[in-house]
Amino acid sequence: MRLTSETIEDVLDLVLVKVERSLDLRDVRSIDVYALLLLDLVVRHARESGAPLRVTWPESPSVRRWMTAMRFFVDVKAGLAPHPGSQPTTLMPIVSIDREDDVSRLVGSFDDRLSDRYPMDESPRRRFLRILLELFQNIPQHANATGDVLDPHGIAAMHDDGHSVTLAIADKGIGLARSLRLRLRLRLGLHPDSPGQASLEQSRLEQSRLEQACLAQTGLSDADALRAVVFDGRSRFRDPGRGHELERIFRLVRSWEGTVVVRSGSALLYQSEAGGDVVDVAPFPGVQIALSIPRAVFGIGEAAFGEGGVESRGDPGFNEGNEENDV
């Protein structure tokens, strides 16, 4: 079993729609970086919702080593015991994005990791850094724009599979539809939040009521919002200088013949050079994005085999039993 941007949807469907409380990942032989971030958020979301998942982690030593090297769940005791063998060198392990004033430093660390490993062409490198700057700052700027999200938990990571460099960035904040509804709510004359005047729970209830009112009047679904942001460059601001970042990034990655995945709420856009469209998926908070850019764009040749050990080749020295953990 491979956990990819497509198959991770099966996991989400199990947990979010079928409300399964256990997750069996024993047979997972590889995980891509986007799926890894979503897995992180899903496990956290379940725990915060008061119904932690019982996870059986992958048996494959190479997958476990890679997950450890990617600093998967390094901040909590998730029960994923690190494999005793040497860890693969990852392109960029998972980092947290909390504050806007930390974004430039984080982008610098991504740049350093990428530049240290590859002598890249300047022009695509600069364009890639601009993408990082825009996507990273979106989290502190938008993921909790309503002020009622306990922890949007913005995270990002980067991986090189030998053919493409993949950047994944994800949060469990308000998502695109709620963000756009903030603008619509103002247009409809509804009052903005006043979090200081009510308890958080009251604030959430009020938020939900107002959003339902907006949705009823505007019909803005997750799919509509995703299309509006990615294809039309819409944002929650009236300022004409705002918005269009995702649209521009989307266009750029397509011009590089890369692929883009954008997930928000119950809508997912998968776009490759062959085309693509928005499809319905299990509803999950926040925005999750993956950009896969062919290595050739950066002037990097193709590797003989994907780095990072995500493709399991077995490891006869690994004989630990499976762990099951409530996380």
């Binding site: 806007e100 004033d101 974004v103 430039s104 982008v107 610098g108 740049d111 022009s123 600069r126 364009r127 850094l129 601009r130 700057l133 825009e134 700052q137 700027q141 460059g233 004409p240 200088g241 705002r242 918005g243 269009h244 970042e245 521009r248």
Partner: protein, 188 residues
């Protein structure tokens, strides 16, 4: 018309990698102070020397919003131009200016580089601007003849360029029934 005072502003003082709106806001405050220090017809040359990356968000917050203010006229006849070592450095700035329906002149490639328009400027306006930049200065009549267009159409074009602070105007005959103007390029 007397030569305008030009002051170069090195934006690298805010770092080599200019990325977030928060950083852009800080830079805008300093840039506005530098603009206000200029004489009413002065020019701020925004140098991108030493810059590695200029994101759209920073560019919009620091430069796009200043361009918007300049077109409102609250900073008199002051103008702003950009100097960049490469075209790809100003790609996102150009996109952001286009979103605001604004334009800015940018010299690409060192002191002997070429001037190009960033942002959004219709082709006829670009033609008029390029002609004026080539000549240094001209009246509407002279421009209209060279472009082979009616004077009224030419007048509308240069008025738009003046509003965008891409050219300067000088009253040359206030005694005439209709005030006569001469238009000047803001770049050499």
């Amino acid at each position: 018309m007397k030569a305008m005072k030009k002051t170069t502003f090195e934006i690298s003082q805010f770092g080599r990698r200019l990325g977030t709106r928060l950083e852009g806001e800080t830079a805008r405050r300093v840039l506005l102070a530098a603009l206000d220090d200029l004489p009413p017809d002065g020019q701020l040359v925004l140098s991108l020397r030493g810059i590695d990356v200029l994101s759209g968000s920073f560019a919009d917050e620091a430069i796009g919003k200043i361009c918007q203010l300049l077109t409102s006229g609250i900073h008199g006849d002051r103008t702003l131009v950009v100097a960049s070592s490469s075209a790809d450095l100003v790609e996102d700035l150009s996109d952001k200016l286009a979103q605001r329906k604004l334009a800015l002149l940018c010299r690409v490639g060192g002191t002997k580089g070429t001037w190009r328009v960033l942002g959004c400027l219709a082709r006829p306006l670009v033609d008029t601007l390029e002609l004026l930049n080539e000549r240094g200065s001209a009246t509407t009549k002279e421009l209209a003849e060279a472009l082979a267009i009616p004077p009224n159409a030419c007048h509308n074009r240069v008025r738009r360029l003046v509003r965008l602070r891409l050219v300067r105007e000088e009253k040359i005959d206030v005694a005439a029934p209709n005030t006569q103007y001469r238009f000047h390029a803001i770049v050499e």
